[in-house]
C-alpha cells in the first residue's frame, strides 16, 4: 500500500495531490506539464516537495513535518522507469540489468539476471550494447533493470511514448502482462487515454497539478466530470439542463445534411476529418452548436462526400445519452478533489 500527499509550488501552478494505491496499477493521465512526472520524481526521492508525506507499507519514506525524515532514492526500494529508458550506454544489456544488484553474491546475481532476461524476453540480446537496440527492446531492458531489484513500488513515466505506432500496441500488451504479474503498488504516467485504459486498474485525470477525476477507465469515459476529462477520453459532453450534462460516444452521433427533427440535434460545421479504418472521425463545431466528435461510417462518407467547412446536422438518440450530474463549476478541480481526499 502506497499512500502519499504532496504539495509543491511549480512555476505556473501548485502541485497538490494525495492518493492511496494498493497492489494495483494506477494511471495518472494529463497533458504534458501538468505535474505528472514531477509527482513521480518526488515519490522516487529525486525531488523534494514543499510539504508532504509518503508512506509505503507502513514505512515512512518522507515526512516534511519531521526534520530529516526523508529516505534517499537509493534506499526507497523503488522501481523507476523513465521515458527515455536511460540505459547506461557504456554497459552491455546484462551489465545494465545487473547494475543495481552488484551487492548480491555472484550466484544469486546471475540467477536474478537470467530470470529478468527471460521475464522480458531479451535473452538473445544479453551481450548487446544499448545503442544497438530498438526502442521496444530498450524499454524491455529498462524494465528488467528496474524489476531485478524486486522493488516494493514501481513508477513508470510515459513508458510507451518513445515508441513508434507499429510497436506501441504490442509493447503495451506485454507491459500489461508484466505489470499484472507484479502485485506491488504501480503508478503509470501517460498523456494517452488508450495507454491508460489498457494498463490501468484505475485512473486519475490530472490538470494543473490537481486530480480532477478518479475511477476506472470506463467510469471516467462514461461519466466525465468536466470538459477537460471528456476531451481526454474522446467523449462528447454537452450542456443539457441546469444541473445536468449529456455524455455520449462519438460512434452514437449521426450526421446529415437535413435536420431529422430529433430531440438532441445541433447545427455544426465540419472542422476536421480523419479516416480511421472503417469510419471517419469528424471534429464538429461552430458558433451555434457545441464541439462534438462524430464517427461516420466509411461507406456513408463515400456516398455523401462531406467536405471540410460544410454545415451539417449532428444528432444523437436519447437512449444513447448518459446524463451526468454537472458540477457548478465543471472546470474547477476543487470539486472533485473532495472525492479523493
Amino acid at each position: 500500500m502506497l499512500t502519499f500527499a504532496v504539495k509543491k509550488r511549480l512555476r505556473d501552478f501548485t502541485l497538490d495531490l494525495s492518493l492511496e494505491i494498493g497492489t494495483e496499477t494506477h494511471v495518472l493521465i494529463g497533458h504534458s506539464g501538468c505535474g505528472k512526472s514531477t509527482t513521480l520524481r518526488i515519490l522516487a526521492g529525486l525531488m523534494d516537495p514543499d510539504q508532504g508525506r509518503i508512506e509505503l507499507d507502513g514505512r515512512v519514506l518522507l515526512d516534511t513535518k519531521e526534520r530529516g525524515r526523508a529516505v534517499s532514492p537509493e534506499d526507497r526500494d523503488v522501481g523507476y522507469l523513465v521515458q527515455s529508458y536511460a540505459l547506461f550506454p557504456h554497459l552491455s544489456v546484462t551489465d545494465n540489468i545487473a547494475y543495481g544488484i552488484s551487492r548480491l553474491d555472484k550466484g544469486e546475481r546471475k540467477k536474478r539476471v537470467e530470470e529478468a532476461l527471460d521475464l522480458v524476453g531479451v535473452r538473445p540480446l544479453a551481450n548487446a550494447r544499448p545503442g544497438s537496440l530498438s526502442g521496444g527492446e530498450q524499454q524491455r531492458v529498462a524494465l528488467a533493470r528496474a524489476l531485478v531489484r524486486r522493488p516494493r513500488f514501481f513508477l513508470l513515466d510515459e513508458p510507451l511514448s518513445a515508441l513508434d505506432i507499429s510497436t506501441r500496441v504490442r509493447v503495451r500488451g506485454e507491459l500489461k502482462t508484466i505489470l499484472q504479474g507484479l502485485s506491488i503498488p504501480t503508478i503509470v504516467v501517460t498523456h494517452d487515454y488508450e495507454d491508460a485504459r489498457v494498463l490501468g486498474d484505475s485512473i486519475a485525470v490530472m490538470d494543473s497539478g490537481k486530480i480532477v477525476q478518479t475511477g476506472t477507465a470506463e467510469e471516467v469515459a462514461q461519466r466525465p466530470a468536466s470538459a477537460f476529462v471528456a476531451a481526454f477520453t474522446d467523449t462528447n459532453l454537452v450542456g443539457g439542463g441546469d444541473d445536468e450534462k449529456m455524455a455520449f460516444d462519438p460512434w452514437r452521433v449521426s450526421v446529415s445534411r437535413e435536420p431529422t427533427g430529433g430531440e438532441c440535434e445541433w447545427r455544426v460545421g465540419i472542422q476536421d476529418m480523419a479516416r480511421l479504418g472503417a469510419f471517419v472521425r469528424m471534429h464538429l463545431g461552430g458558433d451555434e452548436g457545441p464541439s462534438l466528435l462524430a464517427d461516420v461510417p466509411a461507406e456513408k462518407m463515400d456516398r455523401e462526400s462531406y467536405s471540410l467547412g460544410e454545415a451539417v446536422y449532428a444528432s444523437v438518440a436519447p437512449k444513447d445519452v448518459r446524463f451526468v450530474a454537472s458540477s457548478s463549476m465543471p472546470n474547477e478541480p476543487d470539486h472533485d478533489e473532495k472525492e479523493d481526499s
Binding site: R41, A44, G45, L46, S72, P73, E74, D75, R76, V78, G79, Y80, V82, S84, A86, F88, P89, H90, Y99, G100, I101, S102, R103, R129, P130, G131, S132, L133, S134, G135, Q138, R145, A146, R149, A162
Partner: protein, 267 residues
C-alpha cells in the same frame, strides 16, 4: 571564378602564415643535427624539470579540478555564469600578469608568503613555484573541458542509478566518470601541452635558474641569446610533443563523437 580564386588566395596566405614558422623549425636542420644540438646537459636538465613539473601540475589539476568541474556541471546557483568566466580567465589573461598575481599572493612579501616563510617554506624561485605557475595557467583547460564532458552526460542516468540503489558517490564512479572520460582525457592532454609550454608566468614568478626553475621553454629563451641552433632544436622537440598531444586529443574526440552517434542510432 574570380571569387573562388580570391578565397583560395586568402586561405593560402593565412595557412602559410600559421604553418611556416612552425615548419621552419624543422627545415633548418636535419634530424642528426637536431639531436646533436639537443644533446647538452642544459637541455636535459631543462627537459627533465619540465616533465617533472608538468606531470606534477597535471596530477594536481585532475585531483582538484575534477570535483570543481563536476560541481559546476551539476549545480545551479546565483552567479554561476560569473564563476564560469572567472575560471576561464587564466586562458585569456597575459601569463606575465598571472605571474605578477602569484607573486603578490605567494611571494615572500605577498599576502600568504609570510605564512609560508614562517614555516620555513620559500616558494618563489623553486620548483614549487614552477608547478604553481603551470597549474594556474593550464588548469582551466582541463576544468572547462571536463565540465563540458560531465554536462553532456544525460541527467537521467545518475537519477536512475540512484533509484537502482547506488549512492551518489558510487554513481559518480560507475556512470559519470566512464561516460565523461573521453572529455576528461582530452582536457588533461590540453592542460599537459599548455603546462609544458608555459613561459610567462614561470619566468615572472619562479625565475630562470638553470637546474631549479629553468623549464624547457625558459631554456629555449636563454639559448636564443647564445646559440641559435640549440634554441631551434629545443623548439622542434617541444613542437613535436605538443603536436602529438593535440593529435591524441582529436583522436579521443573522434572516438567519443562516433560512439555518441552509435547511442543515438538506437532511438
Amino acid at each position: 571564378m574570380l571569387g573562388r580564386l580570391a578565397l583560395a588566395l586568402v586561405i593560402a596566405i593565412i595557412l602559410s602564415f600559421l604553418f611556416l614558422p612552425l615548419f621552419s623549425v624543422f627545415i633548418t636542420m636535419g634530424p642528426v643535427e637536431l639531436f646533436t644540438n639537443l644533446n647538452t646537459p642544459i637541455a636535459y636538465q631543462a627537459l627533465f624539470l619540465s616533465l617533472k613539473t608538468s606531470f606534477t601540475s597535471l596530477v594536481l589539476i585532475v585531483a582538484f579540478g575534477t570535483p570543481l568541474a563536476y560541481w559546476m556541471s551539476t549545480s545551479s546557483f546565483w552567479g554561476k555564469r560569473i564563476l564560469e568566466v572567472g575560471v576561464q580567465m587564466p586562458i585569456v589573461a597575459p601569463p606575465a600578469v598571472a605571474g605578477v598575481g602569484l607573486l603578490l599572493v605567494f611571494g615572500n612579501l605577498g599576502l600568504l608568503g609570510g605564512v609560508f616563510s614562517a614555516f620555513g617554506i620559500g616558494i618563489t624561485f623553486t620548483a614549487i613555484a614552477v608547478v604553481m605557475a603551470q597549474t594556474f595557467i593550464s588548469g582551466p583547460f582541463y576544468i572547462v573541458t571536463a565540465r563540458q564532458a560531465f554536462e553532456s552526460v544525460d541527467r537521467e542516468l545518475p537519477a536512475v542509478s540512484r533509484t537502482l540503489g547506488v549512492t551518489p558517490w558510487r554513481t559518480f564512479w560507475r556512470i559519470m566518470v566512464p561516460l565523461a572520460l573521453p572529455g576528461m582525457l582530452a582536457g588533461a592532454a590540453l592542460s599537459l601541452a599548455r603546462a609544458l609550454g608555459e613561459f610567462g608566468a614561470t619566468i615572472v614568478f619562479a625565475g630562470n635558474l638553470p637546474g631549479k626553475t629553468q623549464t624547457f621553454p625558459l631554456a629555449i629563451y636563454t639559448a636564443l641569446q647564445s646559440d641559435l641552433d640549440v634554441a631551434v632544436a629545443m623548439s622542434a622537440l617541444l613542437l613535436l610533443t605538443a603536436f602529438i598531444l593535440l593529435f591524441l586529443v582529436s583522436l579521443v574526440n573522434r572516438r567519443a563523437a562516433s560512439s555518441a552517434l552509435d547511442q543515438r542510432k538506437g532511438d
